[in-house]
């Protein structure tokens, strides 16, 4: 039984111990940008750059916070910001988010997407996540030892 494969980590499935997926996925940038194409006028560019404030709930914290997803470029930055905001967890050696006080208590970052489903952070490219994320929740769990 390979428990490693079922281990919840912040990375693409199958990538093993790969760190958080950075926003700049490799797919972009293969094609050089063409001047003036698609034919979109200047004042229409950057519409999705507007603020995207979403609520962040952390299990056990007395109140929620709000973060602006547009101000981060990738998952790393978001999680660092959350660490700062809540101050109750930190990154462990195994790249997990663990409670500062109780090292066995783990925080799993999840989010509610446009369809209302609760998803694990990190599966999709950052931009896609930022567009579809409606709220964040850091769920606590104590990993079972089988």
């Amino acid at each position: 039984m390979n428990y490693e494969e079922t281990e919840l980590t912040l990375g693409l499935p199958g990538r093993g111990t790969k760190r958080l997926l950075s926003g700049e996925a490799t797919t972009k940038g293969d094609k050089p940008m063409v001047v003036g194409w698609p034919p979109v006028k200047e004042h229409r560019k950057g519409i999705t750059m507007s603020r995207r404030y979403v609520k962040v709930a952390v299990d056990g914290a007395p109140y929620l916070r709000k973060v602006d997803l547009q101000s981060y470029g990738n998952y790393d930055e978001l999680l660092s910001a959350l660490q700062e905001l809540f101050g109750c967890f930190t990154e462990s050696d195994e790249k997990k988010l663990v409670d500062c006080v109780n090292g066995t208590l783990e925080y799993v970052p999840t989010y509610e997407d446009k369809d209302g489903d609760w998803m694990l952070l990190g599966d999709v490219p950052w931009k896609m996540f930022a567009q579809s994320c409606k709220r964040l929740r850091l769920m606590t769990r104590t990993p079972s030892i089988c």
Partner: protein, 585 residues
């Protein structure tokens, strides 16, 4: 100078003439002044000398589609009584950064002439012109009766220029500033309207970026009782819009500011009431960052809306689906592709009277995004909105079959602008070129006036266009065609073609020269990144002396290549203000 000069009639001449006494000039002029369309006016002036003169004296509005086709002196000589001028400058592709800075189209020389000849000028509407602050100040001080200033996609001025307008134009009724590349030095310009100023009917500063003094705006709106159009910028909050609506319930067109403020229930209710109190409201825009939370405040106004511009609101499909059933009267709808196909299905089912749809890409340069709209959204709209005749659609996939279905549902298209965002992309189901799609469009839509094509296209598309698009006036082509034959087909067909803009196509000198007979009946031709050479352009210029053939050279290219070519008819010969990088052949 008498503003309404009458020509003295030489009565003896007419009595002697063999014909029956013609209409007295005054009567003819009066009758012709009822002819409003500038195309009809043009036709009128060609009938005979009497009619030419009657039109000359009675013309008060003039439209010049290309500022370089004529000179201000010629205009002034021919039309002594102009009150309203519309001028367009740069080629349309300048909107997409294809025309370098300092290319031209400066309004100033026109204003200098107008100040001498038309001291009673009332209206100036400019598109893609360069306007400096000095020009705006000159304008404000030269025309005491000035009423209407409309600047669309212009550049070269700052908010300081607007200060001059606000300060000096005591009779201003319209100030419409849209989509301009200007220096926003602050919102103080709005406070320059004096307290005694009450005549404003239209105010649109939605595209300006800085804060205006809300107090000044509120007072301005309160005292301008005839205000019917108010479009504010995104710095105006929801609470502030509510106050403005209360002051001006007579408004017919409203552009809100940002929709992102947090509201308590009382404020929400007040906003709802404010929108409900605007009984004449038919156009709504702005709505920056609007989301489902506060969008319902506009519901009381939705039933009367005929034009809704949601192209600055990143709405998702469910948000649009909830909103649209309230808007059954819509004729024009602009949205972002964040609404996806599902949102467009809601359009099809909720807006049976829809005539115009524009779907803009929220993230046009991101190739990762798998969202946006597809062919099925477009089909869904065409299925429910049979009166659709104007579409601008940005998508990432399309099929020939879908387009055939769409035009079968809506055969009355006058404007069909389809942008498949990946250049040269084929029908994603069959891998065929998209030729048959546009073939279907031109065969079915006999009233088609404007067409923009995209996707993988061979010469076949252009053969179809040349053969079937008998009413086509404007054609935009990018990354398409296989050989000269393509462009030739268009030049040999399309009897009503006026504007042709082409980029990144394999059309060369032979194609260019095949249009020799056509260019004088067209406003202009733009060709960039095609296969034209300097020699080909020189040949065109040599054969057609009444055309201006301008070449803009790229720095890195070969001496013989003609990178960007702009050809237009003109009665004044080569322009004298051309910058060094524009070569007139």
């Amino acid at each position: 100078m008498d503003p309404v000069r009458k020509r003295t009639k030489d009565l003896s001449k007419s009595v002697d003439s063999a014909h029956l006494a013609p209409f007295p000039d005054e009567v003819l002029e009066k009758v012709l002044s009822l002819v409003k369309s500038h195309k009809d006016r043009s036709s009128v002036s060609l009938v005979c000398k009497d009619w030419y003169n009657a039109d000359r004296w009675s013309r008060s509005k003039i439209f010049i589609g290309n500022c370089y086709s004529v000179s201000p002196e010629i205009v002034a000589r021919r039309f002594p009584n102009i009150r309203s001028v519309t001028l367009k400058g740069k080629p349309r592709f300048s909107d997409f950064n294809l025309v370098p800075q300092n290319w031209g189209a400066d309004i100033h020389s026109w204003l200098v002439v107008f100040a001498q000849v038309y001291p009673f000028l009332e209206e100036l509407r400019l598109k893609r012109m360069v306007v400096s602050d000095e020009s705006l100040e000159f304008l404000a001080n030269s025309f005491p009766g000035f009423k209407v200033l409309s600047l669309l996609s212009c550049d070269g001025f700052s908010t300081d220029g607007l200060k001059a307008i606000a300060t000096h134009c005591k009779n201003l009724t319209e100030l419409d500033i849209q989509e301009n590349g200007i220096d926003d030095l602050g919102g103080g310009w709005l406070s320059c309207f004096p307290e005694t100023f009450v005549s404003l009917e239209v105010l649109n500063f939605a595209s300006l970026n800085s804060d205006v003094t809300f107090d000044a705006l509120e007072r301005l709106v309160s005292r301008c009782k005839a205000l019917r159009v108010l479009k504010v910028n995104k710095h105006i909050s929801l609470e502030q819009i509510q106050k403005l609506l209360l002051r001006a319930p007579q408004l017919m067109e409203v552009g809100t500011g940002s929709f992102q403020q947090e509201l308590v229930p009382r404020q929400f209710a007040e906003l709802e009431t404010a929108f409900g109190s605007c009984k004449n409201l038919h156009t709504l825009s702005g709505l920056w960052e609007a989301s489902s939370v506060y969008l319902p405040v506009i519901y009381p106004a939705c039933a009367n809306l005929t034009y809704l511009n949601l192209s600055y609101a990143t709405l998702q499909s469910d948000e649009l689906s909830k909103l649209l059933p309230n808007c059954s009267n819509l004729r024009r709808l602009w949205v972002l592709d964040t609404v996806e196909d599902k949102g467009l299905e809601a359009v099809g089912s909720s807006c049976p009277l829809l005539e115009e749809l524009r779907v803009f890409p929220a993230d046009p340069f991101d190739q990762d995004m798998v969202h946006g709209v597809t062919e099925s959204g477009f089909v869904a709209v065409s299925s429910g909105c049979r009166k659709l005749h104007y579409v601008l659609y940005f998508c990432r996939q399309m099929t020939n079959a879908a387009v055939a279905t769409i035009v079968k549902n809506c055969p009355d298209f006058t404007h069909f602008r389809l942008c498949i965002m990946n250049p040269g992309q084929a029908d994603y189901l069959t891998n065929d070129p998209m030729d048959e799609a546009f073939g279907a469009v031109v065969k079915t839509c006999t009233k088609l006036q404007r067409l923009a094509v995209s996707g993988l296209l061979t010469d076949k598309t252009f053969e179809y266009i040349g053969k079937y698009a008998k009413n086509l006036e404007t054609l935009s082509v990018a990354f398409a065609g296989s050989s000269d034959r393509g462009m030739q087909s268009v030049m040999e067909g399309c009897p009503k073609l006026r504007k042709l803009e082409i980029r990144d196509c394999p059309f060369g000198n032979e194609a260019l020269l095949s249009g020799l007979d056509k260019y004088e009946s067209m406003r202009s031709l733009w060709m960039s990144a095609c296969n034209l050479t300097m020699n080909g352009c020189r040949q065109l210029a040599k054969n057609m002396p009444r055309l201006n053939v301008e070449v803009i050279k790229d720095e890195e290219s070969d001496d013989s290549e003609a990178d960007k070519v702009y050809v237009y008819r003109s009665v004044v010969g080569p322009r004298r203000d051309a910058p060094p990088f524009v070569l007139t052949l």
